[in-house]
């Protein structure tokens, strides 16, 4: 099935078209999307850790919308990048770790929304519940793992060496 995806006309276009609007545009969008997701998630985590306390909790909910915007850009660009090299990416440990942690990271965002950003007492007083700090730290670690494993998908030999494969 991976080969079928890789041999599809769409995958071939992404991979082989000399146009700047194919592979290079998709790569650019993926970099922008990840910067939005990671950067905004970090901003929210920092606020939950007490940095920039004047940022209203209400604003953080809006910022999560921006994260979803970045996530959708990366989902779409990521799918195109994946099918272009499906047989290479799918078995890669770094890629599988990255995908797992993207899911964890976005899920954690939902937990943060329910437990912190929609907490009525927090919204009224701008004072955060106790769970906010730990959620923020886990979030930062999670996105750090995503970033590092994402980068390492470009270095399969380095990863194999590190894992002793």
């Amino acid at each position: 099935m991976l080969e079928a995806l890789e041999n599809s006309a769409l995958a071939a276009w992404v991979r082989e078209s000399p146009s700047i609007f194919s592979y290079t545009l998709v790569l650019s969008l993926h970099a922008i999307g990840l910067a939005i997701v990671l950067g905004t998630s970090t901003l929210i985590a920092l606020r939950l850790l007490g940095v920039a306390p004047a940022i209203p909790i209400e604003s953080l909910r809006r910022l999560q919308g921006f994260i979803w915007f970045g996530f959708v850009i990366n989902l779409l660009s990521g799918l195109l990048l994946f099918i272009a090299e499906a047989t290479k990416m799918a078995p890669m440990p770094a890629f599988l770790i990255k995908m797992s942690f993207v899911v964890i990271g976005m899920s954690l965002g939902q937990v943060i929304r329910k437990k912190v950003l929609e907490d009525k007492a927090a919204l009224a007083t701008n004072v955060l519940p106790a769970s906010a700090r730990s959620l923020a730290v886990v979030s930062l670690i999670c996105w750090a793992v995503t970033l590092i494993s994402g980068r390492l998908t470009g270095y399969p030999e380095l990863v194999s060496g590190m894992l002793g494969l």
Partner: protein, 172 residues
Amino acid sequence: MLEHISAALTLAPIQRLVNGHAWFWPLCETIHYVGMSLLVGIIGVLDLRILGLFRSMPIGALKPLVPLAMAAFIGNLITGIFFVTGTDSGASFYIENLSFQLKLAVLLVALINLIIFRLTGLEEAVYATPAGADAPYRAKVIAVVSLVAWTFTIVFGRLLMYNDTLLLFLGL
């Protein structure tokens, strides 16, 4: 002239560091991406607020995060210097690369834009903007320039390894 600049910027000790440790380059890349993400998350959000998004935020609330954005920029400057001075094939790979030249050009635009933001006093006016209120009109121009310049910094950075595609697109 470019050859002279390239020769001056190729630093053997950094090249040895890059060649001697396989993890060094990906580490620098990771730091570079962290810096990029912090810049987008902080300055990008600030620019969008100036343009009217996230209005529930008093703009001054973002001020404590700006030094972190500056630190992120410096981190990227340092890792960027490691890339240029330490790459195997010598600095000419970057110096003679149109994508890299354009990246530096738009980066310069972003920095000049920031200087104007500060020197005109617009920065103070922006930070004084309360929740629900509009930033000054001239600040919105600064914000658009900032967003476009930083976006293209990322794009040209991505195109570095695909410079031929850029040249083809520009008919060069």
